[in-house]
C-alpha cells in the first residue's frame, strides 16, 4: 500500500470538540469498512482551518473514494514520496 497525505479544508477545524472528532472518526471508520479494498487510516492532525490525514491505500482514487463516502473534503491528495527525520542525517556520514 502507498501512503498519502490528505489536506482537508474545514473552516474552524481547530475548534472541533472531542465529541465531534469522535463522530467524524466513526463516519470515517464506516467509510473505510465499506470500501472492500485494503485501506488503513494511520492518523490525522487538526491544525488551523485544516485537517491533515495520513492514510494508506493502493491508489489515490481509493483515497478520494473514502472521502466521498465519508462526506469529507479532500482538497489535496499527495502520495508520500519519502519519510525522513533527524536520523536521516546519519546518511551523510556514509
Amino acid at each position: 500500500m502507498k501512503r498519502f497525505i490528505i489536506e482537508r479544508e474545514i473552516p474552524g477545524a481547530s475548534e472541533l470538540t472531542e465529541a465531534q472528532l469522535a463522530e467524524i472518526a466513526v463516519t470515517s471508520n464506516a467509510a473505510v469498512a465499506s470500501l472492500g479494498v485494503p485501506y488503513h487510516w494511520v492518523t490525522s492532525y487538526v491544525a488551523g482551518d485544516k485537517i491533515y490525514c495520513v492514510h494508506e491505500a493502493e491508489d489515490a482514487d481509493t483515497i478520494i473514494e473514502h472521502a466521498r463516502r465519508g462526506g469529507f473534503p479532500a482538497d489535496l491528495v499527495a502520495e508520500v514520496a519519502y519519510e525522513f527525520g533527524p536520523h536521516t542525517a546519519e546518511l551523510v556520514l556514509q
Binding site: 467509510a31 481509493t62 465519508g70 491528495v77 502520495e79
Partner: protein, 894 residues
C-alpha cells in the same frame, strides 16, 4: 567547526534524492470537480455551439439568456459540456431538476448555490432569504461578481419556487455578467406547466437566444456506425436520429438492432452478475443520483462499483453515483420485476433515514414507492410544510394530497391537513379544489362534533367562495361562522363580513360591523383582524367621500406591513386602488399600483396580484392606453386566475376590442363573462360599469340589449354616500346616448355636465382628468361642427376605429356638413399603442434620463434601453426624444 561538513553536504544537496519525481498523477485535487467532467464527441452541433459561444462571450458585457430545447437524449447536456469547455475561464454553476413525482422546492437553485460555494471559502446561506425576490437577490449577489454561466437543466421537472426565483433573475439579468441557460424538453411542458411563465418572460427578453437541438441526420449516423457493420438507414429508421439511442446501439453492434431504446440500454447489463444487477436496479430507483455517503449504508463496495462502472451506464458526479442519462435509468428501472420494486425503495429509504437525510421530497418518493403509508404521510406532510414556506405552492398541494391519501390517524389531524390543502389550493388559484378541501374538513369537524373548528372552517370557506365570485355562498358561510362566538375564526369572520359589505358599497353596514370586529379583535389581541377592520372601515369612508380616509387607510396598511400581515395590507391596497380608479383618481391610483403590485408579487399573494393587474388594466383603459390595458387584461386572463380577479380583465378586453372594431366575437365573449361575474358578485361597482359597457356596445352596434332593462333599477338602487356617482354617471351617459335617459340623482361632475347638455365643458373636464376617449365622446355632441369633427379624428388617432365609424354615422345623421373621412393610420403623439414597459420607459425619458441612466434604473443594458426608446419614438411618431419630453404633459406621461 562542526558546520563545515554540512556546507559540504549542502553542495551535494541536503536532501536525499527523491525516489520519484512528483508528477500530476501523484497529486490529486479533490472535489470540486468541473461541472461537466466528461469528454464528448459532438456531431452536427456546430451552429448550436456557435450560438452558445457567442452568447457566452456577449454575456461578459451584459447578461443574457439562452434556452436549449430538445427531446430526451437529444444531447442537450453534451452540447452544454462542449460549449462551456470552449470558454473554460467562465465559471459554471449548474442546477439540475430531477424527475421526482413532486419536485424539491428550490432544488435547482440550491444546487447552483452549492456549485458556487464549492472549493471556495464562500458559504452562501439561503436561510435568511424567504421570498423569491430575496432569494433572487442573494443569488444575484453571489453570481454577479464575476462572469458566470448559470445552467438550469431539465426545466420540465422544475418546481414553482425555483421558477419564481428565476423570473426575478431574468428581469435583472442584463445588469450583470451572467448567462442563464435553461434546458427543457418541449414535448413535456403542456399548457399550465410551472415552467411556462418563466419561458414566457424569457421570450419577451430582447436578445434571448433559443437553441434547438434536433435529431441526427443520416450523415451523422453514417459516421457513427461506420465501423460497426450496422446499416445507417436502418439505425435512423429505428431511432429517429435520437443521439442517445444511436450511441447505445453503437456500443453493442454485435447485438443487432434493439427494438427500443430500453433494449439498447439493457444490452449493457447482459453480462452483469445477478447481485450486481440488483445494485444497478437499486441505483435506478433514485431519480437523481445516490449520494456517496449512502454507499456504506447500501453495502456497495469499491470492487462492485468498478464492475458497475464498466457497464458504461453509470457516472460519478458531485451528486454521487447515478446513471449517465435519464433514459438509461428509466430503462433499468422499468425492467425491475414488479415484486422487487418496493423492497428496493424500502432499502433506499432505510439508508436515507440512517444517514440522517433531510431531503423530504426524496424521502417521500421512496416511502411511497416502498408502499409505506405511515412514512409517506409523515414525509409528505413535512415536505408540504417546507414547500409552502418557500412559496412552492404547486408542490405543497401535491405533497398534501399525498399526505391525505396515505393518512392513518385521528380525524382531527386529517382535517388539519385538509385545511392546509385548502389554503395551498387557494394560493395556486384552484378555488373549486380549495372549496372542496375546506368542505371535506368541515365534514370532519362536524362528524367529531368540534363546533369551534367547524365555524372557523366556515369563515375560511366564506372568503374562498367570494374569491370564486360566489357572493351568495360567501354570505351564507359568514353567517354560519358568526354563530359560534368561541370559534378561533370568529374575529376573522367579522372581518370577512365587513369585506363583503364593503365590496357591495354598503357603507353603513361596514361601519356597524367595524365596531363589532374591532372590539372582538382587541379582546382577542388579534392584530390581523384589528387592522383589517380599520382598513375596511377607512375604505368605506373613502367610498363615502371622506377627504382624509385615503391617507388613513394607507397608514393602517403600512402598519399591517410592518407587523407582517401582508395579506391584510395587500387587501387594503387592492380595495383602495379599485375605488381610486373608479373615481378617476388616476395619479393616486398609478402611484399606489407602482408600489403595491410589486409587493403582491414579492410576498406571493396571487389573488391581489391578479386583481391589481386587472385594476391597472382598467386604469389604462380609462386613460385611452389600449395596448397597455390589453396587456394587463391578457396577463390575468391567460393564467388560471380567481374568478373575482377576472372581472376587470374581461371588461377591459371587451371594451378595447369593441372600440378597435377587431375580434367582435372575442369581445362579446369577454363582455358576457364580465356580465356573468357581475351578476354573481352582485355589487354596484361591478354591475354598473359592466352595464355601461353593455350600453356602449349597444350604441356601437346600434342594437337593443335586454340586459339593459335592469339599468334603471341598478342606478336607483344606489344611495348617497356610497361612492357610486362615477359608475352611475358612466351608465347614465351611455343610456342617454342610446336615447333612453334615466333619472340619475347624483353623478360625478363630468357626467353631470354632459347629461346637462354642457358637452364642451364635459370634454374639457375629461381632457383635464386625462381621459381622451371620454373627452372625444363628449365633444362629439358639441354644437361646434369643427369640434365634433375633431372628436372623430381623435378617436381615429387613438385607434378606436369602430367608435370613430359609429361617430361618423352619428354626425351624418345629425346632418353635419363636414364629417371627417377615415384617415390613414396616424397615432402621432398618441400613447394608446404603448405597452406597460414602454410607458414606464417613456415616463423616464420624459424626465430627461439618458440611455445609460435608463439602463441603470431598469436593470437592462444601455443597448436595450436604446432599443426601447427607438420603439417608443416610432410608435409615437416622434423623431427625437426632445419632442417626447416637450409633449409629455399632454400625453399624460409627465
Amino acid at each position: 567547526m562542526t558546520s563545515t561538513p554540512v556546507i559540504e553536504a549542502g553542495r551535494r544537496s541536503a536532501f536525499p534524492p527523491r525516489r520519484r519525481a512528483p508528477t500530476l498523477a501523484a497529486t490529486f485535487h479533490g472535489p470540486p470537480e468541473p461541472s461537466y467532467p466528461a469528454e464528448v464527441e459532438l456531431l452536427e452541433r456546430e451552429p448550436q455551439l456557435e450560438q452558445l459561444r457567442e452568447a457566452i462571450l456577449r454575456s461578459r458585457r451584459a447578461g443574457g439568456i439562452v434556452t436549449i430545447s430538445g427531446e430526451s437524449g437529444a444531447g442537450k447536456s453534451a452540447l452544454l459540456r462542449a460549449a462551456t469547455a470552449l470558454e473554460p475561464t467562465v465559471r459554471v454553476a449548474r442546477g439540475l431538476c430531477d424527475p421526482l413525482e413532486t419536485p424539491r422546492p428550490l432544488g435547482p437553485i440550491r444546487e447552483v448555490i452549492t456549485d458556487l460555494s464549492a472549493g471556495r471559502s464562500m458559504h452562501l446561506d439561503l436561510g435568511g432569504a424567504t421570498t423569491p425576490a430575496e432569494l433572487a437577490a442573494t443569488l444575484m449577489q453571489a453570481i454577479a461578481a464575476e462572469p458566470t454561466i448559470v445552467v438550469i437543466e431539465d426545466a420540465q421537472w422544475i418546481d414553482e419556487a425555483s421558477v419564481d426565483v428565476l423570473r426575478f433573475l431574468v428581469r435583472r439579468i442584463e445588469s450583470a455578467p451572467i448567462l442563464l441557460i435553461v434546458t427543457y424538453r418541449p414535448g413535456e411542458i403542456g399548457a399550465g406547466h410551472s415552467v411556462r411563465p418563466l419561458l414566457g418572460d424569457i421570450a419577451r427578453q430582447e436578445g434571448a437566444v433559443a437553441v434547438a437541438v434536433p435529431s441526427l441526420t443520416i450523415r451523422a449516423i453514417r459516421a457513427l456506425v461506420s465501423e460497426t457493420g450496422l446499416d445507417a438507414a436502418s439505425v435512423l429508421a429505428r431511432t429517429g436520429g435520437n443521439p442517445f439511442y444511436v450511441t447505445e446501439i453503437v456500443r453493442h453492434p454485435g447485438e443487432g438492432l434493439p427494438a427500443s431504446v430500453r433494449d439498447a440500454v439493457l444490452a449493457s447489463t447482459n453480462a452483469v452478475a445477478e447481485d450486481d444487477l440488483e445494485v444497478l436496479r437499486l441505483i435506478a430507483t433514485a431519480p437523481d443520483a445516490v449520494d456517496d455517503r449512502l454507499l456504506p449504508l447500501l453495502d456497495i463496495d469499491v470492487p462492485r462499483l468498478r464492475r458497475l462502472e464498466a457497464t458504461g451506464l453509470l457516472m460519478r458526479s458531485r451528486r454521487g453515483v447515478g446513471y449517465r442519462h435519464e433514459l438509461a435509468r428509466l430503462a433499468v428501472e422499468d425492467a425491475i420485476p414488479l415484486a422487487a420494486s418496493a423492497p428496493l425503495h424500502a432499502r433506499m429509504l432505510d439508508a436515507l433515514e440512517r444517514s440522517g437525510s433531510g431531503d423530504l421530497a426524496l424521502l417521500t418518493h421512496h416511502a411511497r414507492a416502498a408502499g409505506d403509508d405511515r412514512r409517506t404521510a409523515r414525509y409528505a406532510d413535512a415536505a408540504a410544510a417546507d414547500a409552502s414556506r418557500t412559496g412552492a405552492h404547486t408542490e405543497a398541494v401535491a405533497f398534501l394530497r399525498l399526505a391525505i391519501e396515505h393518512f392513518i390517524g385521528e380525524p382531527a389531524e386529517r382535517a388539519d391537513l385538509l385545511e392546509r390543502l385548502s389554503y395551498e389550493e387557494y394560493m395556486v388559484s384552484h378555488l373549486s379544489d380549495a372549496i372542496e378541501a375546506i368542505s371535506d374538513a368541515r365534514r370532519v369537524w362536524s362528524a367529531v362534533g368540534d363546533r369551534r373548528r367547524l365555524a372557523a372552517a366556515h369563515a375560511r370557506q366564506a372568503l374562498i367562495e367570494y374569491y370564486g365570485a360566489d357572493r351568495r355562498q360567501a354570505e351564507r358561510h359568514v353567517g354560519l361562522a358568526i354563530e359560534e362566538v368561541d370559534s378561533p375564526g370568529y374575529a376573522a369572520a367579522w372581518a370577512t363580513r365587513m369585506y363583503l359589505q364593503l365590496r357591495r358599497s354598503d357603507v353603513d353596514a361596514v361601519k356597524a360591523s367595524a365596531r363589532v370586529a374591532s372590539d372582538v379583535a382587541r379582546e382577542r389581541h388579534d392584530d390581523d383582524v384589528r387592522l383589517r377592520s380599520e382598513i375596511f372601515g377607512a375604505a368605506a369612508d373613502v367610498l363615502g367621500g371622506s377627504a382624509t380616509a385615503r391617507e388613513q387607510l394607507l397608514d393602517w396598511a403600512d402598519e399591517a406591513r410592518v407587523l407582517g400581515f401582508d395579506e391584510a395590507a395587500s387587501t387594503g391596497y387592492s380595495n383602495l386602488v379599485a375605488i381610486d380608479v373608479d373615481h378617476r383618481r388616476f395619479r393616486e391610483a398609478g402611484e399606489l399600483l407602482s408600489r403595491s403590485l410589486p409587493f403582491t408579487v414579492d410576498r406571493d399573494i396571487p389573488l391581489c396580484s391578479q386583481w391589481q393587474t386587472g385594476v391597472r388594466g382598467r386604469l389604462h383603459l380609462l386613460r385611452g392606453r389600449w395596448a397597455a390595458a390589453l396587456e394587463d387584461a391578457g396577463s390575468v386572463l391567460e393564467v388560471e386566475a380567481a374568478p373575482l380577479a377576472l372581472l376587470w380583465p374581461n371588461l377591459v378586453a371587451a371594451l378595447v376590442l369593441l372600440r378597435r372594431g377587431a375580434s367582435r366575437e372575442l369581445a362579446e365573449r369577454h363582455l358576457d363573462r364580465a356580465w356573468e361575474l357581475a351578476g354573481r358578485l352582485d355589487e354596484p361597482l361591478a354591475r354598473l360599469p359592466v352595464l355601461a359597457a353593455i350600453a356602449e356596445r349597444a350604441w356601437l352596434l346600434d342594437v337593443d340589449d335586454d340586459r339593459l332593462d335592469g339599468a334603471d333599477a341598478a342606478i336607483a338602487g344606489l344611495h348617497d354616500g356610497n361612492g357610486g356617482e362615477w359608475a352611475a354617471g358612466d351608465l347614465a351617459v351611455w343610456l342617454a346616448r342610446l336615447g333612453r335617459p334615466v333619472a340619475a340623482p347624483r353623478v360625478a361632475e363630468p357626467f353631470a355636465l354632459e347629461l346637462a347638455g354642457r358637452v364642451d365643458d364635459a370634454a374639457a373636464r375629461w381632457r383635464a382628468l386625462g381621459s381622451p376617449f371620454e373627452a372625444a365622446l363628449a365633444a362629439l355632441g358639441s354644437a361646434d361642427e369643427a369640434v365634433a369633427g375633431g372628436a372623430v379624428d381623435e378617436l381615429d388617432a387613438m385607434g378606436a376605429i369602430a367608435t370613430a365609424d359609429r361617430a361618423r354615422g352619428a354626425l351624418r345623421a345629425r346632418g353635419l356638413a363636414r364629417v371627417p373621412v377615415r384617415p390613414r393610420t396616424s397615432t402621432r403623439g398618441n400613447p394608446s399603442g404603448l405597452t406597460n414597459r414602454q410607458l414606464d420607459v417613456a415616463r423616464l425619458v420624459a424626465q430627461g434620463l439618458t440611455n445609460a441612466e435608463l439602463a441603470q434604473r431598469l436593470y437592462i443594458s444601455p443597448k436595450t434601453a436604446g432599443h426601447h426608446v427607438s420603439a417608443i419614438l416610432a410608435k409615437l411618431g416622434f423623431a427625437t426624444r426632445r419632442e417626447l419630453i416637450r409633449r409629455a404633459g399632454e400625453m399624460g406621461l409627465a
